[in-house]
Amino acid sequence: MSEPSTTQNVATDKAPAVSVRGLRMGYGSRVLLEDASFDVERGEIMVILGGSGCGKSSLMKNMIGLYQPMAGDILIDGQSIVQARGEDKAALQRKMGVMYQSGAMFGSLNVLENVRFPLDQFTDLGLDAKNLTARMLLEQVEMAYAEALMPGELSGGMLKRAGIARAMAFGADILMLDEPSAGLDPITAANLDRTILSLRQNLGFTFVVVTHELQSIFAVADRAIMLDPVSRSIIARGKPAELRDHATDARVRQFFNRQPDAAVEKAEA
């Protein structure tokens, strides 16, 4: 009998899970972000934050290859998703599980079928195995009771939770979550934070979470970057608690301390 395993169950690749290099992105002639560079290390929970309309979700959509950046590069496991085409790009995209803001459930499938969908498409697993996997994922996000419901019958929070379960379904070890806890009740949001931490600890998942929910940021984030729509740049990066207490930029302190504009203007005066 061999010795007990000491594996921490993390992938062994040395390259960062996601690496953004000199990114310039926007829509048409409107630039949202210029010369942005940052890495998301394997097994890390990175939070992208910033006020509404600063380009958080757009940055995530660039990272998953849905939008083409104006300049710069984005590497997934060391391979450029910007340069990749066809099946190469699809293979890189399959390394990432994505939860969209609205949940993006397929309306013609029930919750269980939605979560099972990537397994149906890409594996040879038997139906029982796929159903069990999907049910376990739903159990993780406390949605097992709703497996037979159609997306049209779900609330916004339920859609998000089902979306997270589907994002995890194909064994993607990089999960991108767009506003996962917005609209959830505090207990469900806290449970979701716990699920994220558990998945990182036990399955070694890497998370990129777009959010502006302060409690979730402090609960889960190893590091955060903050986008600013005025300077169109990353104005802060680091651990959330350090940013809250020691950031030199007033806008960062204002965000973390949840202050209205007037209070900051008065403090600066």
């Binding site: 009998m1 061999s2 010795e3 007990p4 395993s5 000491t6 594996t7 921490q8 169950n9 993390v10 992938a11 309306g107 013609s108 990537p118 397994l119 890409f122 594996t123 040879d124 697993l125 038997g126 195995a129 069990l132 996997t133 049910r135 376990m136 994922l137 159990e139 097992a144 159609m150 997306p151 049209g152 019958e153 995890m168 379904a169 194909f170 064994g171 070890d173 558990s198 600890q201 036990n202 399955l203 070694g204």
Partner: protein, 366 residues
Amino acid sequence: MSAEGDAAGANAVSFTLEGRITAGTAAPIWKTATETLARNPNRPIVVDASRLEYVDDVGIALLFDLIRRDRPPNAKVEIRDLAPNLAALIGAYDPKKFVPPAPERAHIGIIEQVGRATDQQIAYAQRMLGFLGSCTRALGLAFTRRGVLRWGEVLEVATEAGANAVPIVLLIGFLMGVIIAFEIGLVAQQFGAVIFVVNGVGVAMLRELGPLMTAIVFAGRTGAAFAAQIGTQKVNEEVNALNTFGLDPVHFLVLPRLVAATLVLPLLSVFADVVGLFGGALVMVGFDIGFVQFYYQLLDAVTINDFLIGLAKAAVFGLALAAVGCERGLSTGAGATSVGLSATSAVVTGIVLIVVIDGIFTVLTS
């Protein structure tokens, strides 16, 4: 997964899980493992997990599937040397929660099916009657009280449903005239009665085919659009927003469409009549009936009543199609699929309805 063998002690069967078990690699491992369990229902199973390198959520599900199975006390499955974090993860699931649900009642008797279908139809008829009552009240108010009907929106709907539909209506109308004249002409030629083809084309176009074909085009183009527009507004909770402002969705969303459709369909029908007759006249040239001869024969063959009956039919068709489209839209459930179903249902119900109305008209006016 390595081959099974006898484990040390007792009569246990053992096998080893090794390497990476992920969504992409798990299928054959899972199949072999479950077959091993099935082949040895009364022997304990020992799974050696010491050489596992990585598992994803599918691998976790596989490990959980092995230990959750209902087996005799002396034939349990034991996973040895599993990393503590994975053991904790699997231990967090309660096997009782994953018992397959009892199968639903498989067979529903024919009487129950008929009963359910009847119940649904009665409910639908009640909804439709309620909706028609609301529409009638709204139309009554629109023509008796100023400001109820928003003529700007009526014009907008009429432009989209009417003016933009003219090319397709002209094409369909022209082709119908050509086809009818040609088909009847070939038969009439054998009896030397070619001149009476003009009578057939005239009556058919003015009383039947002009309004009917225009209505079918209208059902596919505009009835479906009404259902999809209002259905999307329902899904987006715009209809709820109107209700909470104290505004009646029937006044706000349905009334302009009803009025626009009722006014526009007769006009489209006139276009179809004219080009249909022109198409018929064009074909008759090939049967040695000139345009002038066609014109005078047409004046003898049809009366102003044929034309007016066609117009009245078209107006009723427009009203019915708009009502069905709007009702289907307001009955939309939740989600994008429901919007699609509403649009489809609006077209099918609309076409059935106009054929029924056409039949009633024929009986009443013959």
